[in-house]
Amino acid sequence: MANAETFETICSLIAPINKKGIVVKPETTFAVDLELDSLTVMDLVAEIEDEFDIIMPLNLLPDLETVQQVTDAVEKILAEG
């Protein structure tokens, strides 16, 4: 996995809000598996933005359901940066 490092970093940001302590995999979803409400997801996005020093517009969120999709989005923004 080329973006393993990005994935790991995102997982570490998810850890504090992973209340049920489930194992986070690429296909893990935020709404269903992690049971995060939309406000918590938006706060997570802020953490990701600061960690990677990027901007993730809120408009992207509806298309990002899994941790893998977020990882890909982050990498894409970094590549365009």
């Binding site: 901007i55 809120l58 408009n59």
Partner: protein
């Protein structure tokens, strides 16, 4: 497939709350005794959750003006502002507000919600960025969703977080920073000077929503930007008639030379009927009264401080250290306690707002009290006393 099935979780949540005698989402005011009292369920009730900050809903001049407009112009305009819905009164109201703010231009919308919707959706186009506070009102989020700009969100009232984001944005794009002067749930004020200065440093245009600060902040009651002397840093100020002004409607003011073009591109302005002449007349009279309302402002702040001090002394967990606004919010530990507290307080004859997620930040459960300039200090004492009695009856532990 039943399209309403997706709301089953909402229905379940509502049904899980232990309301027995009343329900905060189905309160009916059968009779208004004054700005500060109503009959609810046959009980004389002190109104302490109506956003009627300046107590203008029964202002003599506003009522007289509305009655005259009804007689002279009828019950409604039956049309859009850009077709048949602009009467002399609408232009006079816009001139009154522009003069009140000392600005060149004003647009009046049919609600405060539409003012934010109409401004933000029109200003934030494709390729532009709109930068908003995380705790923004739904009308700001909806304005963002309706436009085509990219939306960037920063942590509530956090200047440093906002700056970090502005730094990452491209230099040569359109950028609009949207903030509120006062946040409606906790009643906390924005560090407007710092926010606007940073926004300007990064070449952003700025929009300040003074919905919950107009009327009582600043020497003339224009809002927090006036109070802090930073109105020159706001490109657009948005406000509402449904709080301090005591009726319904919204507005935006600006000195921008091209401002009037928004009348032709802002869909929430165009595709709805304009305000009825009576509403327009009472808003005009009310704003003129607010301008001269220094005494009311002073009494409102006294009430806010008295209520905040009294509840704090009683041991309630306050959401702000001091009274930053006429919105005094009390923290309750969980939905069950919140529900029982709200219900019992109503039985004691005090109406406040029960505020729960997602309307509140960070999953907070609040009793949101808003005081009115027309509350007497005896009424404020009565509210404090009934809060204490309610806490005792529902077994809420106080911090004494």
């Amino acid at each position: 497939m039943d399209l309403l099935d997706k709301f089953d979780a909402t229905v379940a949540l509502r049904e899980s709350l232990p309301f027995e005698k009343a329900d905060p989402f189905s309160v009916v005011m059968d009779e208004l005794i004054s700005e500060t009292e109503a009959m609810i369920g046959g009980r004389r009730t002190i109104l302490a959750g109506t956003n009627n900050y300046m107590g203008m809903t029964f202002n003599d001049e506003a009522i007289e003006a509305a009655k005259k407009a009804l007689d002279d112009f009828g019950t409604g305009t039956t049309g859009s502002r850009v077709l048949n819905g602009t009467y002399g009164g609408h232009k006079a109201l816009e001139a009154t507000i522009a003069d009140f703010y000392g600005m060149e231009h004003c647009m009046v919308f049919s609600t405060g919600y539409q003012a934010n919707l109409g401004m933000i959706s029109a200003l934030g186009g494709k390729g532009d960025y709109v930068i908003i506070d995380a705790d923004s009102h739904a009308s700001i989020y909806d304005g963002c969703a309706m436009g085509n700009a990219s939306i960037v969100r920063f942590k509530h009232n956090n200047v440093e977080q906002m700056e970090r984001r502005l730094k990452r944005l491209p230099e040569d794009v359109g950028k609009l920073v949207v903030v509120e002067g006062m946040y409606s749930m906790l009643g906390d004020a924005a560090p407007l000077k710092e926010l606007l200065e940073v926004a300007k440093k990064y070449g952003c245009m700025t929009l300040v929503d003074e919905a919950h600060s107009m009327g009582f902040c600043g020497e003339n009651g224009r809002g927090i930007a006036e109070e802090l002397g930073v109105e020159h840093l706001a490109d657009f100020i948005v406000g509402t008639f449904s709080k301090s002004v005591g009726t319904v409607g919204g507005f935006a003011v600006s000195n921008h030379p091209k401002f009037d073009v928004l009348r032709f591109v802002s869909r929430p302005y165009i595709f709805t009927a304009s305000l009825p002449p009576s509403v327009v007349a009472s808003a005009t009279a009310s704003i003129n009264a607010i301008k001269r309302g220094g005494n009311r402002r002073a009494h409102l702040w006294e009430n806010a401080r008295q209520l905040h001090g009294g509840l704090k002394e009683a041991g309630f967990k306050m959401c702000t250290e001091t009274a930053e606004s006429p919105i005094i919010a009390v923290h309750l530990p969980d939905p069950m306690m919140g529900t029982r507290f709200w219900e019992q307080l109503l039985m004691e004859g005090v109406y406040v707002n029960m505020a729960a997620p997602p309307a509140t930040p960070a999953g907070m459960f609040l009793m949101r009290v808003s005081v009115c300039a027309q509350h007497t200090s005896e009424q404020v004492n009565e509210i404090i006393k009934r809060f204490r009695i309610t806490a005792q009856k529902v077994g809420l532990e106080l911090n004494i």
